[in-house]
Amino acid sequence: MIEVSHCDLSYNQAKSQVKVYDNFNLKIEQGESLVLIGPSGCGKSTLLYLLSGLMPPTGGEIQIWGEPVKGTRQKTAFILQEYGLFPWLNVEQNVSLGLRVRHMTKGKYQLLVEDMIQKMGLGEVKHNFPSQLSGGQRQRVALARALTLQPDLLLMDEPLSALDALTRERLQTLLLEIWQEQKLTTVLVTHSIEEAVFLGSRILVLLDGRPTQVVGEILNPLVGQRGYRQTEEFFQKTSYVRSLLERGGLDESAK
């Protein structure tokens, strides 16, 4: 289990301190696919940074599988919002970077990397630089790089925004397959309500406030079922998430 206990986090901004989290608590079960959804600036990325260990909380503690998080973990993979890939490395070099950073020798990682590149359908473009890839290909590279690390926790910050509808659906299906196949624990941030319901076994609706509030938590046990997108249940869940988000928006304007 992953436990965020009594966490505080503030940023220093030009004139003031912004308190994004104040005594925040969250539990994530192993194998869960948690989706975070909420308005821009509500603190979704910040939560992923906390979970990744890149940013220590100003108060409280985070434990992953019983171990307190101190700095980055070997088995946590984090796909950052937009900036994930290194423009000076080609696809192959980008995918292998995580392993190279861990001092794995070329002889060892070559096969792993080649395997992953094929699996992600990147064989044709493996010598291209990120600027020579489509948005969907870039996201697959980021995913390939994360998965070569064989993580037990995968954090993704809006991995599929800025993709066309069809590419997006295809990659959603890919993410779902990976999650089901590997029983990975994932935390995904998205702005798309459909994506949240399609990918999340649990959906956390956050509300922009100082500090951030959780306005709703939706369990989504049918996630991953064949044809889920076309079911009545799917439709109901999306309407519910939407109503929570809209209510959040109303509260905001009423203040």
């Binding site: 984090f78 423009p87 995580g98």
Partner: protein, 256 residues
Amino acid sequence: MNLRSRIFRGKFWGYLGAALFLVVLWQYAAWSLKNPLLPTPKAAILATARLFEADLGRHFWVSTYRVVLSTLTALLVGLPLGLIMGFERSIDRFLAPLVYITYPIPKIVFLPLILLFLGLGDASKIFLITFIVFFQILVTTRDAVRRVQSETISSLRSLGGNRAQVYRYVLLPASLPDVLTSLRLSMGTAIAVLFFAESFATTEGLGYFIMDSWSRAAPDEMFAGIIMMALLGVGLFIVVDFFDNILCRWQHLKGN
């Protein structure tokens, strides 16, 4: 590969065309001025060929060696220091004022001191050029590192990268294009300073050769020296371009 050789050939014709254009311009100027101080290109090129074996080649070599050694030294010191100053705020806070105060002072004013301590030989000239180029590389590198998005660094950190690996895999490659640009700009400065430093109190180098020909009223020989200086400059640019093409290929993808 095919594309690369085509680009290379294109560049070659570009240089040749530019050289021809300059020669034609020069020829025209020589004809219209009819002044013995400006020889025709033909006379200058003949002088170059004639003198190269004698001693022009040696002067060329000495100058090349001085510029290249200075630039490499400046790079070897300036690049790491620039990376560190750009990334480690605490070190920067301490060193930046020092750099800001010394950077704008024209380093040439220190020449008398440098000559006093390092003598008239190679060392003083190499030191002076290194000194000047060093600052340019230092400041450029530092600013380039500062422009690196913190997310890019986080991305490497999230892969498990430590501090040293942030330098190796992020800061260095991210600042390299700017470093090469500053190197290109520094080349111009370096050659100008070289000429100045070689034009007195020495008997070696293109600067000396040019001033000496001038004082001997041998304009064709003087222009032979100028041609060699131009060749030195072009050669250095080509070398920098070469490294740019290899190391920063990702930067040049949209162009072709």
